[in-house]
Amino acid sequence: MQPQNRTQPPAITMQGISKTFATVKANDQISFSVKAGEIHALLGENGSGKSTLMNILSGIYLPDSGEIDIHGERVIFRSPRDSMAQGIGMIHQHFKLVENLSALENIVAGTGHGLLLDRKAARDKVIALSEQFEMDIDPDRKIASMSVSEKQTVEILKVLYRGSQILILDEPTAVLTPQEITRLFHILHRMREIGQAVVFISHKLNEVLSLCDRVTVLRQGKTIGTVYTHQTTATELVEMMVGRAVDLAIERPAAVGSGQCLDVKNLTVKDHDGVARLNQVSFTLDHGEILGVAGLSGSGQKELCETIAGLCAPNGGSILFHDNQIIGKSPREIIRLGISMSFIPEDRLGMGLVASMDIADNIMLKDYAFHKGPFLNRKEARAKAKRIVEQLSINTPGIYHTVRKLSGGNIQKVILGREINLSPRLLITAYAVRGLDIHSSYTIYSLINEQKSKDVAVLFIGEDLDVLLELCDRILVLCNGQVTGIVNAKDVNKEQIGLMMAGETLTESEAV
């Protein structure tokens, strides 16, 4: 733990790293270097090889070729143990914690020698560390009872407890509120001050620019370049990531709707244990409007979508679609009422499509209700599939290509194309751009905007607050199944939404 020193070798040097999975070259001759006392961003789209590279650095994957030096010394990592012994700690996007054990047990597991566990010494060390880095954590609480942000703190403590000098964080902010992100950045700054190296994997440009010292950009498994954040801009970084210039502004055409579509009142949904997943949720949604739904994951978004779509039985409340009461009705009954509604679920391949069927068959799936007789009209379906593939420029060898083998963006386009083709009056999308690259995301936004201009009412469940604020007309914020506010997107900022996500309701003067 010494201050940075110019003659000191870099904390990490990776040279010519390659790794192939089956036929996919996840890493192709990647070079990457991080200094001690630096926060270094690793930027790239999904599938660019960031996670693979970091999994190699943390000993989870063996590289096919390439060299790794840690503090100037050549190393070979055959397992996470080897990597840890060199002072490397990784915080995975999906936390590697055991829900059933306490924070302390999770932190100490895998360390130390000897038969017995000295809980007291371990506990004291954990508390000392959490004080040093100004974290607030109860070592004796079970992981299962912790919030996502607390779990992340445990992961960081786990790495610090092992005396790691190099910390890798894989998309650490994806699931945090803006306030929690600020706290995390504070911790990372403390680590930089004492000379540790931090690798920050993200695709959120503003975070990268505000937090990190340097950025290395990967694209399709190759290193595109390393730049200082104070010498670059978001536009430049996107160009490096995508390979061409992308307009980062999201359009928001004025809402010109033909009146109310949906009127939800006091909607309540309870789970098997009797815990309310949605509690007295009320809102309205107009035609030609995009209503965004913000909230930490698991705040009731799934239940909200599924009750409206008729997939989940509510425990009370009412849902009026125009003048039809649709609460508690099955999707079939809703269709019979002449209501055209489309739901694009979060789990695209599980709920939205049949992964092992081809595009044409998947597009036919929703047509059954409109045809008579026992036979399928394949000709029509083929024509429709071809049309959708063309209109949405889905990148596929053909309409008989299995959906599973398509990329995330193209899969999303297949569902969206199928649903839009039915000319819905209400479109519900859950995490429409999750796992999509920048280009596909922007295509999806413009498709949603196109629906809005066709007088469709859109319920947009989102996670990226920047996108919600730019795309939606109004934003409904959920916290633990309760509505903590419905605001005009133009009149609020990210911090206010963040506070509502954490359970605070806006005061009268702020509310719209």
């Binding site: 989870i60 397992s79 012994a85 590697k96 055991v98 829900e99 054990l101 597991a109 895998g110």
Partner: protein, 328 residues
């Protein structure tokens, strides 16, 4: 005979019947805590019973009999470990195969020894009561009868029985008080998390699956060599399956395993006793076949009751899931 003596004798029998169940439950708990569901307990107990008995018959040495039983069941569980851990086969199917293999292996090996008895030395060991209180204690005024009761119920057993109960305490201590125990629990809950913490997952899985299998095999050794003393075909008689359910009942906790195996041991005794009461055994619900069914019926009832309690521990989260580090 007075009632106290009857109860004490009943308890003594229950303790004896509990031993193979306890050994099996300890073994299977260790195995499952490592994330491996081994349905081959019945087969492992059979292998232990056969190899143990053969050694006992030929050497008349209890240590060699125990060692042979450990080798036999260790071989079986090593096969299971190689298949499920290294080759990541389906654990349930592999376990069932192990049961069939183990039973066949045992019946083939033991064929020539069917219905023979253990030799003199082994029988002496089985009948020894090293912790028995001196006769004189029974006449101590006041506590004499209490001591006599304890003596009859719990202190008329051989070393094997006592060591089994000590093993249960040791198992609990290992699981909840030692570093390795914490690592084991972590592996069973989330092997990827354990691996990321620097714990050797594959090695620990192998060690616990094999040791767990050996404990099951010792249960078999106890049945054939010590408790029955005669080799019979299918001598384990379904106890391996009761063990699989008992593990759930006792929530993978070695201390609770003591209570659970005593309960099921007692139930077996009740079954035996009823068969010998002629007036009752004439009734259809107490017929030989019905009585054979009761342990399993109890198993079903216990499982339903266990799962009806929502809040309780439902077992290692990683149970049954093969672990491969480079899974994407």
């Amino acid at each position: 005979m007075d009632v106290a003596l009857l109860i004490a004798l009943f308890l003594a029998s229950a303790v004896r019947m509990a031993v193979p169940l306890l050994l099996g439950t300890l073994g299977e708990s260790l195995t499952e805590r490592a994330g491996n569901l081994n349905l081959g307990v019945e087969g492992l107990m059979m292998m232990g019973a056969a190899t143990g008995f053969i050694a006992a018959y030929h050497t008349d040495n209890i240590a060699l009999a125990v060692l042979a039983g450990m080798l036999g069941s260790g071989f079986g569980s090593l096969l299971y470990a190689i298949l499920t851990i290294t080759f990541r086969t389906k654990q349930d199917v592999t376990g069932l195969a192990l049961t069939i293999f183990g039973s066949g292996f045992a019946n083939t090996l033991g064929k020539t020894l069917a219905n023979t008895n253990t030799p003199e030395g082994i029988r002496t060991f089985a009948q020894a009561t090293p912790l028995k209180l001196p006769e004189s204690t029974a006449s101590i005024p006041g506590i004499g009868p209490v001591l006599a009761f304890i003596d009859t119920a719990f202190l008329q057993h051989n070393w094997f029985v006592y060591l089994t109960f000590i093993a249960a305490f040791a198992g609990w201590f290992y699981l909840f008080r030692t570093r390795q125990g914490l690592h084991l629990r972590m592996i069973g809950e989330n092997p990827a998390a354990a691996d990321a913490s620097g714990i050797r997952v594959i090695g620990a899985k192998y060690a616990h699956v094999v040791v767990g299998g050996i404990l099951c095999g010792l249960g078999g050794v106890y049945i054939s060599v010590i408790n029955v003393g005669t080799y019979l075909e299918n001598i384990v008689a379904g106890r391996g399956w009761i063990v699989v359910a008992l593990v759930i009942f006792i929530r993978w906790d070695p201390l609770k395993a003591i209570a659970g195996s005593l309960l099921f041991g007692a139930l077996e005794i009740v079954g035996f006793r009823i068969q010998h009461i002629e007036a009752l055994s004439g009734l259809p619900i107490f017929s030989q076949y019905a009585i054979d069914m009761y342990p399993y019926l109890m198993t079903i009832i216990v499982l339903i009751l266990t799962y009806a309690r929502k809040k309780a521990y439902l077992g290692p989260a990683g149970l049954g899931v093969p672990y491969f580090r480079e899974d994407r």
